[in-house]
């Protein structure tokens, strides 16, 4: 949908509807120091992924007092880690007022599980009602699965491959010191010697498959195991790794 010039006059810009996938930080309560510590821990798992990303703060599950909400501190913490807070998904009027005070865009509520339903933040939005903010056709992309990213070259030490929406399929080794990340599953048809992070937006059903498990770290939806813990079983063999009751479970592929 685009706003075409009807008068025939030349315009300096055109408004277009855009649908982007954003990362949401679901805040349960806010404590300055704890927030900073937790943020640092999260980021250390995938430093490259969080660099310069836009982030929205989601308050739908916020249980703390609204008076404890300090958006300036949140923005400050995030900025120190290279993350840009662009908007807030507020639950009540007080939270909206606070967000407006911190010059953050207000976003309509929605299910966090479905990132494609998140409309792009719009700078001049002041009205909190969802319909006023997202007049564009709501979800043109929902039924279409995100395409998998396919890599056929060795991922070398120091390199990072990132599939922000779907699965990541690698038809070559992932070397020690390399990092592969995906919103969905990760398949490595070769030895996995580096770090693999699947379900980075929180998809707990994601899995990691590899021909030979020699990884430095495997993470699914933020739950991770390091090399030391992985060596206990099926080391250097073909496995799948999945999340069961918040624990990473390694299963040999021939027994799956």
């Amino acid at each position: 949908m685009s706003d075409t010039a009807t008068s025939g006059l030349k315009q300096s810009f055109q408004l277009k509807s855009a649908s982007v996938s954003l990362t949401a930080l679901e805040l349960y309560y806010f404590d300055d120091e704890e927030f900073e510590t937790n943020l640092r821990d999260k980021i250390s798992q995938a430093p490259g992924f969080f660099k310069d990303i836009p982030l929205i703060i989601s308050l739908e599950k916020y249980q703390g007092l609204d008076s404890e909400l300090d958006f300036f501190k949140i923005i400050g913490s995030c900025r120190r880690h290279g993350i840009h807070v662009v908007g807030v998904r507020a639950a009540n009027d007080d939270q909206r007022r606070l967000a407006r005070g911190a010059a953050l865009a207000l976003l309509p509520g929605g299910s966090l599980r479905d990132p494609t339903a998140t409309p792009a933040p719009s700078a001049n939005d002041t009205a909190p009602e969802p319909p006023a903010i997202a007049p564009a056709e709501p979800a043109m992309v929902t039924s279409e699965p995100a395409p998998a990213k396919i890599i056929s070259q060795t991922v070398r030490s120091g390199q990072q491959v990132y599939a922000p929406e779907g699965d990541l399929i690698i038809l070559a080794p992932v070397q020690a010191g390399a990092e592969v990340l995906a919103a969905g599953n990760i398949h490595v048809y070769g030895p996995l010697r580096g770090r693999a992070l699947a379900g980075i937006h929180g998809a707990e059903g994601s899995r990691v498959f590899c021909q030979s498990l020699e990884a430095e770290l495997v993470s699914i939806a933020g739950h991770y195991k390091i090399s030391e813990d992985l060596q206990e079983n099926s080391w250097k063999s073909a496995v799948q790794i999945q999340l069961r009751d918040d624990l990473l479970v390694v299963t040999p592929l021939d027994k799956a």
Partner: protein, 270 residues
């Protein structure tokens, strides 16, 4: 058009300069007009190994900055008359190497030379990036130990993403693995990675295996490229590597211990 070959490794002290000296000498001995450039600005060594340190007047940086012409800076080797050396500056900063400056010199050398061998500094900083940027082929020098293999893997990633060929979307830089300081006895005792271990991890074609040898050290100290020590294992191994670089098919030697060669041959790769 000259073929541009970078000798690189990531890790320091693995034998890049020794290799640059021997490969360039080997190419020149076979009649190819060859120039070897020292990219290690600030820590120049190549002139010592080539025994021409007393003849350095102008250097690479002087030429880039227009203070001398290429002909003034190039030093003609005394042993092989198709070989020239472009020494590094000892006093400047690595930042003196600019992409434009290096390109201009490489283009100028390309007109008259068959091979340009670029001796890279260690690390993955500016100097190393400049050395590999214009490469058509890369000789990745690796010692049979884990940290060296890791660094070589890193440099291979950089060759695939930051070289001119990668940026222009041309055919990738042709990669060669050269394993140096190889000691078959220590491999048998499990103290070193074997050739097949390193080949399996790095997954690039093997150009040669240079055995660990006192001859290499003696030759460097005398300012003699070890390839000219024709009787030594190391010299012959470099000779083989040059032949393979030029497309000849030669069997790999010096990969097994002296005494138990029959047995280790039996169990090679096992």
């Amino acid at each position: 058009m000259a073929r541009i070959i970078v000798v690189t490794s990531g890790k320091g002290g693995v034998g890049k300069t020794t290799t640059s000296a021997s490969i360039s000498t080997g190419l020149a001995k076979r009649g190819h007009k060859t120039v070897v450039i020292d990219f290690d600005v600030g820590l120049r060594n190549l002139d010592l190994i080539m025994n021409c340190e007393r003849r350095v007047v102008y250097d690479f940086v002087n030429v880039i900055q227009g203070e001398a012409s290429l002909n003034q800076a190039l030093i003609k080797d005394k042993r092989v008359d198709t070989l020239f050396i472009l020494p590094a500056s000892q006093t400047r900063e690595k930042e003196a190497l600019t992409k434009e400056g290096v390109e201009k010199i490489i283009n100028e050398l390309s007109e008259t030379f068959d091979y340009i061998v670029c001796d890279s500094p260690a690390g993955i900083e500016h100097g190393a990036l400049m050395a590999l940027y214009y490469a058509d082929e890369a000789i990745v020098v690796t010692n049979p130990e884990v940290s060296s293999v890791r660094d070589s893997d890193r440099i291979l990633g950089i060759l695939q993403s930051k070289s001119r060929r990668a940026e222009m979307g041309q055919d990738p830089v042709k990669e060669h693995l050269l394993l140096t300081r190889y000691n078959p006895d220590r491999v048998e005792r499990g103290e070193m990675l074997s050739v097949s271990d390193v080949e399996e991890i790095l997954a690039i074609p093997l150009l040669g295996v240079i055995p660990e040898s006192q001859v290499v050290l003696n030759a460097s100290n005398q300012g003699l490229p070890v390839i000219l020590e024709g009787q030594s294992d190391a010299g012959q191994a470099y000779e083989d590597a040059v032949a393979r670089l030029l497309g000849e098919d030669r069997e790999h030697r010096f990969m097994t211990g002296q005494k138990k060669s029959f047995f280790s041959r039996m169990f090679k790769g096992g």
